[in-house]
C-alpha cells in the first residue's frame, strides 16, 4: 500500500516536470533514495540535471533519510543564488 507524499519543485526541476508540486505515492518506510528513483523513472528528463538534492522539512536530507507523508519534501537542483 502506498501513501501520498507532497514534493515541491523549483527551478529547472519544476520546468522539466511542468508542475511546482507533485503528489508521489511511496510505500511506508520509503527513503529519500526511493523517492529519487521513483521520480527519475517517471520523469526521465530529471536525470539530465547536474545534481538533485532533497530537502525534508527545510533541511538537506541524506539518501537514507526516512520519509513520512507529513514531511514537506523539496527537490533542490544546483543552487545559483548571489
Amino acid at each position: 500500500m502506498t501513501q501520498p507524499h507532497t514534493v515541491l519543485l523549483f527551478g529547472i526541476t519544476r520546468d522539466l516536470v511542468g508542475q511546482s508540486r507533485l503528489s508521489v505515492p511511496l510505500t511506508k518506510g520509503s527513503r529519500v533514495s526511493d523517492l529519487v528513483a521513483h521520480l527519475n523513472a517517471q520523469y526521465p528528463a530529471l536525470t539530465g540535471v547536474k545534481s538533485i538534492l532533497v530537502a525534508v522539512n527545510s533541511e538537506y536530507a541524506e539518501p537514507n533519510t526516512l520519509l513520512d507523508p507529513s514531511d514537506e519534501i523539496a527537490l533542490i537542483p544546483p543552487v545559483s543564488g548571489g
Partner: protein, 136 residues
C-alpha cells in the same frame, strides 16, 4: 538581519541598521546583475527561492560567521523575481571592531550563500533562457 525580498534592496537602510558605536569597520558586498555571460548578452535574471529553507540556510551561514569573527551586526538580503541589468540581487553587510574581520566575514557569507542556499537564477536572453549551473 536576514531577508528575502521581491522589492529593490535599500542600501541606505542596511547601512543605517549596521551602524553601532563599537564598530570600526563596516564592509559591504553587492551582487548586481551583469549584462553578459560567457560572451552571450543577458537581458534579465529571474531569481526564485525556496523561501523558508533559504531563510534558514542564510541564518545558519550568518550564525557560523558570528562564531568565527567578532561580528557586531550583519545584514543579508537577497532579491527574488525578475531583475534588470544593474539591479542589486544580494547585499551582505558586516560591522566589526576592525576591518580584517569585516572583509573576511563578508567574503565567507557570500561564498557560502552561493554554495548552499536554495535560490536559483534563470538567465533570460533575447533568444531563450537557461537555469544557471543546472545542467552539465
Amino acid at each position: 538581519m536576514i531577508a528575502l525580498t521581491a522589492d529593490p534592496i535599500d542600501f541606505s537602510s542596511a547601512y543605517h541598521y549596521l551602524q553601532t558605536d563599537e564598530a570600526g569597520a563596516i564592509d559591504f558586498f553587492f551582487g548586481v546583475v551583469r549584462n553578459n555571460t560567457q560572451q552571450r548578452s543577458v537581458n534579465q535574471l529571474d531569481y526564485e527561492a525556496y523561501g523558508p529553507m533559504a531563510i534558514r540556510e542564510m541564518q545558519k551561514i550568518a550564525d557560523q560567521a558570528c562564531e568565527r569573527w567578532p561580528i557586531l551586526k550583519y545584514v543579508v538580503i537577497h532579491r527574488t523575481g525578475v531583475l534588470r541589468i544593474g539591479e542589486m540581487a544580494v547585499l551582505i553587510g558586516v560591522a566589526t571592531p576592525h576591518r580584517d574581520a569585516a572583509f573576511e566575514a563578508t567574503r565567507y557569507i557570500i561564498d557560502t550563500i552561493k554554495q548552499t542556499v536554495p535560490i536559483w537564477k534563470k538567465e533570460l536572453f533575447a533568444d531563450g533562457e537557461v537555469w544557471v549551473n543546472a545542467t552539465p
